[in-house]
Symmetry: C2
DNA sequence: TAAATTTGTTAGATGACTCTAAGTTATTAC
DNA sequence: GTAATAACTTAGAGTCATCTAACAAATTTA
């Protein structure tokens, strides 16, 4: 098994390299809040363990094995988040910190049971896909709300770059996963949108907000 | 906060010194599977932190502060065990290992929620008392089954020295907390007992078994 | 009570993870 | 195409929790 520390490096590598498939040591260092030389030596160690492709002065890439192991940690994180929300009544803004800790538990039984009690969910409370038991993650291709046009009707499917503050902001506006939104207007000069929302009236959302909301067109 | 390691020392000290109020470094070392010199230096460290009374060549004692902190860890352990059994469907023989890990989580919210969902239980699935939020534990004085006499009718209230094997042994005989037992015979030469048990016929239990079962006389 | 045994202590080393300081390679900006 | 800046690497040190080896104190045994 890997140490708590190694698991955190793997997870960060996985998350940061999600798009390009590679990360700079510098990004990783910032993400983890750990100084470059420390990251550097850990990369050599993970490279020894065949979890990371490491070459001097080159970007970092997870090996297939590394991706699998990282996927399994993220699986535990997301199952936990789902459990906390669905079975323990936490809000989606409260679960990240707890899941950061529970994801490191070593107990196949425990996560197996969570999974079963939840009915084998495919997504977490923020709409992110839960990797399967082999660590593989199916990307669902949603659109950003920011790329939609006036008149579109969409369903809120996922939230990215989730922070407590952002999620609380969405709570206040009753913007939860699944809500149907109709785009009334899109401002040219700042990209903000006015959307109408089932029961409530309409809300104006800044471009920054719209860029973090993933939707499914209806 | 204390490290994972320190918490394990505190917990072990608490459990081992439950009766006499003190433990030898040697016992502690054996319990934790950690060599004496390591234990010795950790005791000095915990003494610095005012968690343990340490004097050369004297038995170890937890300070009041140490007892409180240990009690809080045991509280988390036992609440977790209760949650795993009551809310997640685990058997009482499966929960110890998982709780060993969860007890170290730092999230007041999480344990608060568990406690509430369970309805503020006072005992864990093995009948051990759950310390309160200040770390204080109320001992309930049950009798050992081994000290009961022929003809007594008792209710099984708690199990001590719980190991997987012992709990599985009890499962097979449908001996769960709360069952009513009537003591038919007590063998003079080996202290084994024949007890009859609600629905089932009667079972013969060795002295070793009877010594690990705590009962309430009816 | 003296010898043998057990228990406890000190000293010094190791491995995991972190850091700072200083040097090297790439990249960016005139 | 240098010079400046940013990114990366190396070297060396510190902390935490662990170990082994060697010694000292306490306890048990004969």
């Amino acid at each position: 098994m890997h140490s708590y520390t190694e698991e955190n490096y793997l997870k960060a590598l996985f998350n940061l390299s999600a798009d390009k498939g590679e990360v700079s040591a510098n990004e990783l260092s910032k993400q983890l809040g750990i100084k470059m030389p420390t990251v550097n030596s850990m990369m050599k160690k993970l490279s020894e363990k065949k979890l990371v492709h490491y070459e001097s002065y080159k970007p970092l890439r997870l090996t297939e094995k590394g991706k699998r192991e990282a996927g399994l940690i993220i699986r535990k994180h997301r199952l936990t988040e789902m459990f906390l929300v669905q079975k323990m009544g936490f809000g989606w803004e409260e679960v990240h910190e707890i899941a950061e800790q529970i994801e490191h538990l070593h107990s196949p039984n425990f996560f197996e049971r969570m999974d079963a009690l939840l009915g084998y969910p495919k997504i977490d409370p923020h709409g992110s896909p839960i990797p399967d038991k082999t660590g593989k993650m199916e990307w669902i291709k949603y659109e950003k709300l920011s790329s939609c046009k006036e008149g579109d009707t969409v369903r809120l499917a996922a939230v990215i770059h989730t922070t407590d503050d952002f999620l609380k902001f969405l709570n206040l506006r009753e913007l939860s996963l699944g809500v149907k939104l109709k785009i009334k207007t899109v401002e040219k000069f700042d990209g903000s949108m006015t959307v109408s929302h089932n029961k409530k009236g309409s809300d104006t959302l800044s471009h920054i907000v719209c860029d973090r909301l993933l939707v499914e067109k209806l």
